[in-house]
Point group: C2
Chain length 201, copies 2
Amino acid sequence: MHPKHKVMNVVINKKYQDIFGTAKDLFWKYGIKRVSIEEICKEANVSKMTFYKFFPNKIELAKTIIDDLVDSSLERLNEIIHSDKSFSEKLKALFLMKLEGMNNISMEFIKDIHINQGTGLKEHMDKLQAKAISLIVEFYKDSQKKGYIRKEVKIDFILAYSAQIIKLMEDEHLLSQYEQPQDLVIESMNLLFYGIVTGNE
Amino acid sequence: MHPKHKVMNVVINKKYQDIFGTAKDLFWKYGIKRVSIEEICKEANVSKMTFYKFFPNKIELAKTIIDDLVDSSLERLNEIIHSDKSFSEKLKALFLMKLEGMNNISMEFIKDIHINQGTGLKEHMDKLQAKAISLIVEFYKDSQKKGYIRKEVKIDFILAYSAQIIKLMEDEHLLSQYEQPQDLVIESMNLLFYGIVTGNE
DNA sequence: TATTAACAAACGATAATCGTATATATTTTA
DNA sequence: TAAAATATATACGATTATCGTTTGTTAATA
């Protein structure tokens, strides 16, 4: 038996997946601190012993779940950046991804990540977040070099700018002015495009 | 000072409202058992002493909140029944009210009400629920007497029948068959109308 | 001044949760 | 089948959270 089989078993293991899945669901709804290990086990039909076979404690389980969430986000990010789409199409895709990424990690989850200080949870999250940002920065720099973005524009400005626009989406009053939420998305996107792109691609 | 002033003060009191409001929000999201008294106080910017001035414990606070939720439901129910709308319009309004009533008390809240056995929470809820049902039953009986509902139809059947139809709305697969969720609502409503009404009103 | 209301801090009592240990059942493997 | 590995239920002591109360203080009000 290769040791690799052992590793495979841990990841693919049914019980592991049960714990992982139900914990993800519960953390999603209630945050980390409101969910107990015993509750996770009961909900996943798994004994507490089995839990401690896979995870040393609740925080490490949370880290693993966050890893998974962020990993799949990074994967999609890479897919978009290295696709054969045009620049503005990529920009649009990145924009939409960030938009729906708001739902990708629930508010309760986020809150608890910041509350649980001293556990290294926030630092862990920040490290992963940094990867995503550097990926996007590289993409913008490359796009600027290729002439898709005006030379004078600072990359940091684009980041801050698009972050602000994303925040617009949370404005209930503004949202109510549009027949469909997508109309606001389109309007914001147009603003982003005609604001920073040169037109030649 | 009349004793009435005292009573008024308790209900209108700012602190009371703060506790009541934040507790309602928290119970809504997380259910009763996941929320602590101390958390409510902290969130409402109120000392624990003030809490116990108004409520003996968490369960009684929950009961008060449930009372408020159900009271406003009963009020709307009465408004609909005693309005000058036509029978089918009333039926439609009752149907829609029950439908959105699903959101009126959150799942987490409901769950905890049933879990907290021995606290009288469920019994309290059931008693209030019974009022609503008797109101609706009276409305149906009256409507049958007036000839809006066929004589052979049993009232209990109508109740069970409409409950079943409401449950249809929870069927994700069925819901996906319609372009808009409202289309399923309309279809269900038509079925209800042409199934039990006589046509003359 | 006396009274009232609200507060923070601390308290003991109780209950929940954690992480571990043990003994039993089930499944895998030799 | 027998031995070994794995999963489970249960129970345990230790820790932590929560409850409801008590105490002493502050600020506003009558």
